[in-house]
């Protein structure tokens, strides 16, 4: 930290926040490379598409990433959205149910299905936002309602069955296809990342979100329309969850109302936190969330690669979360560093009043 030039230090608090998550990801990747060779990281091309362990991790993590990005914005305004897993299931159910029984190979049918699924998801997001912003219901309660009801709604949509979409349908390309050798889900997730980054950082939305999350009362008195922004953010989060559901369903060729996207809200919150966005709101880091998702995805593979049984999965995940949380704690870093720098005074975060 000392060798960082003064300019970089003041200009890039973002890079500094990303440093620890990146380090953890690097360690995980290095562990895999050590066990399985460099093939883990470097993709090969097979049947006109990229193939390799890391590419597969990214492809399978795409729905989680899309959800976690939406969640990042919600958390930035001191909110939380527990309903994303249920919205995932609804998005999947709406799309598959629409296609089943129609001409599944027609592009128009598929586009209509996706459009309908996204519209429903956005509507649900707006509902969540309205509950929070207009009626002042605590976010955890407001979204808990749909977390519980959502899977029931998905079951009603599918009539309790699991609708299937055949492999011939263009719909499944959303989950399994590749463009320019890169899997479609990765394209979509990347597009969502870029779109949200542009939406928040090339407009003033990011600043206003961080302001509302950092100090709601001061933001109100500064004349910020917090209500509209809150609804918008929950709407975007719902939209993301619906899109993730569509991709998940396309990958499987079916929609399971009970198990599709189960517990994905917890992984999404985890990714956001690993990425450096505080649950208290304020500053948010879309790139940090992306790294968080990559860590979670890589971890699952790592456990198998290093020869641990799959029963270790949850425990290992908890350990990694613990490590990242500790690394991000200034108190812990100071405590660890203390024996090494007796004489060089540890810099403190506080500044003289």
């Amino acid at each position: 930290m000392t060798e960082a030039p003064a300019k970089a230090r003041s200009a890039n608090p973002y890079l500094k926040r990303l440093m620890w998550p990146l380090a953890v990801l690097a360690v995980l990747v290095a562990a895999n490379v050590a066990v399985t060779g460099i093939d883990f990281l470097v993709p090969g091309v097979q049947d006109g598409r990229l193939n390799g362990a890391f590419v597969n991790i990214l492809r399978r993590s795409a729905p989680l990433l899309i959800i976690a990005l939406g969640m990042t914005l919600v958390i930035a305004i001191k909110g939380i959205d527990l309903s994303v897993g249920a919205v995932y299931a609804i998005g999947a159910a709406v799309a598959c149910q629409w296609i089943e029984g129609r001409d599944e190979s027609a592009l128009g049918t598929v586009l209509a299905a996706v459009g309908l699924a996204l519209a429903v998801a956005a509507l649900i997001g707006a509902w969540n936002g309205t509950m929070v912003a207009r009626f002042g219901i605590q976010p955890i309660v407001a979204t808990l309602i749909l977390m519980i009801a959502g899977r029931g709604i998905a079951q009603l949509i599918t009539g309790g069955q699991i609708p299937n979409v055949g492999d011939a349908s263009p719909f499944v390309e959303l989950g399994r296809g590749a463009i320019l050798t890169v899997p479609v889900p990765i394209w979509i997730a990347a597009a969502v990342l870029v779109a949200l980054a542009v939406l928040t950082r090339r407009t003033a939305l990011g600043l206003l979100l961080e302001s509302v999350g950092g100090n709601p009362e001061a933001s109100r008195l500064a004349g910020i329309r917090a209500r509209g922004i809150t609804v918008l953010v929950y709407l975007v989060c719902g939209l993301c969850a619906g899109l993730a559901g569509v991709i998940g369903a396309a990958n499987l060729g079916s929609a399971d109302a009970n198990n599709g996207g189960l517990w994905i809200e917890l992984d999404a919150i985890l990714a956001v936190v690993i990425g450096g966005t505080a649950l208290l709101g304020g500053r948010f880091f879309l790139l940090g969330t992306t790294i968080g998702v990559a860590i979670i995805g890589t971890l699952e593979v790592t456990i198998i690669n290093v020869g641990l049984s799959s029963q270790w999965q949850f425990t290992a995940k908890a350990i990694v979360v613990l490590v990242v949380a500790l690394l991000q704690s200034p108190q812990f870093r100071a405590w660890i560093a203390r024996p090494f720098k007796r004489r060089t005074a540890a810099p403190e975060e506080a500044v003289a009043e």
Binding site: A218, A352, E353
Partner: protein, 506 residues
Amino acid sequence: MSDQPIVEMTGIVKDFTGVRALDGVDFTLRPGEIHAVMGENGAGKSTLIKVLTGVHGPDAGRILLDGAPVRFAGPGAAQAAGISTVYQEVNLAENLSVAENLLAGREPRLGPFINFRAVRRRARALLDDLGIDLNVAAPLSSYSIAMQQLVAIARAVNIDAKVLILDEPTSSLDRDEVAVLLGVMRRLAAEGVALVFISHFLEQVYEICDRMTVLRNGKLIGSWDTADLPENALIGHMLGREAATLEQIERVAAAHQVADEAPLLEAEGLGRKGAVAPYDLTVRRGEVVGLAGLLGSGRTETVRLIAGADRPDSGELRFDGSKVGGHNPRTATARGIAFCPENRKTEGLVADLTVAENMILAMQASRGWARQVSPGQRAELVSAFIDKLGIRPADPDLPVRNLSGGNQQKVLLARWMLIEPKLLILDEPTRGIDVGAKADIQRLVAELSADGMAVLFVSAELDEVTRLSDRIAVLRDREMIAMLETEAEMTAEHIVDAIVAGGRRD
């Protein structure tokens, strides 16, 4: 007063990332004395206190307590050694009763259980000792901030303190409460407790302190007996420049005539139940209207209705020739009404955001999220205002939480000046900030009004109100009781008379 010091700090150095907050400071405290630590914001007062109370460890220097070298591991260790602190912000649990707050952690017990009867008895005795009259069984939240502050002091005193540090304890107290507090301080000093007093109110410092230590930019300027340090010399030491700067900003009011035009703002019977009784108020362009009154007299509540921060439940507001309906902060901003709230930390600034982001906030809010102030334009505006207002450090990318109180207040002012409002409402803009920044802000208000901006100015300091205002509205018990209009009426004495008369009226 004995000559053997209870606390002796020598050569204290404290660095924060890149900033030397204390640079070889010596500080000596004797039993039974009341010792003021003076200096502008950023001078190092708070840091010195935090080193003494174990919040920060010093990077160099040593601390002797009762002649023995000490190194506190944390505030708990300092407290155990007899050093207690009462901070500006009340650090108590509002939901607990007064008695529970007073004795939390030291409750009298009956076996494993807390003896609540004894808790209340002990608490009542403790408050009686200090001449404070409160219902000890009532929740702390049912009392004003001022009373809560007194409870915090009583709690600190109860912990057998040898040294009691009072960091801006009077900034939210009214006159009577200050008198009670100063009385308590004298009583403690007579019992041999050494007191450290930090306050921006010079009259209180002169009234009560035996000695003063002055800091500037982290360096010790000197320690004096109060009798040997006249007020202008003290201000000179604190500012590092010739005193009497404050006098120079004598109102330009005489030179500038408030144009006798139609009022910009007209409030008729505006009021809100439980906050402020219906009042009439007009403000013209280029006019500074002061609001004076004791704490809790309804000053803040009055301006919050005009700012759209609270909804009035009676009366009518006209602004710039048209009736104001559906008033809220956003529409107020759009009309050209800017409001700097009393509490800049909780209602003003977003602590995590940078200086630049905080400054641009109101302008950005009025444009909506889709029309971003371009980065180039933002950098230009922000650096212009950093220069104009003399904000230090002059780094637009620093989180605003790292600035001193005076500089934070200037950031808040810049936020509103950026949108060029027609009416600027300032609620206690100079509270808790140093003399230099205070002078800067007062000068700014005079300049803005000379340029035609209307200003509503709330302040607890009568001198400040009389110096800056063209007219003064006086409040008492949540009611506007007088309007002082002529130069002859606008003196501190007249305001006090009006308040007293207002009390006698009914």
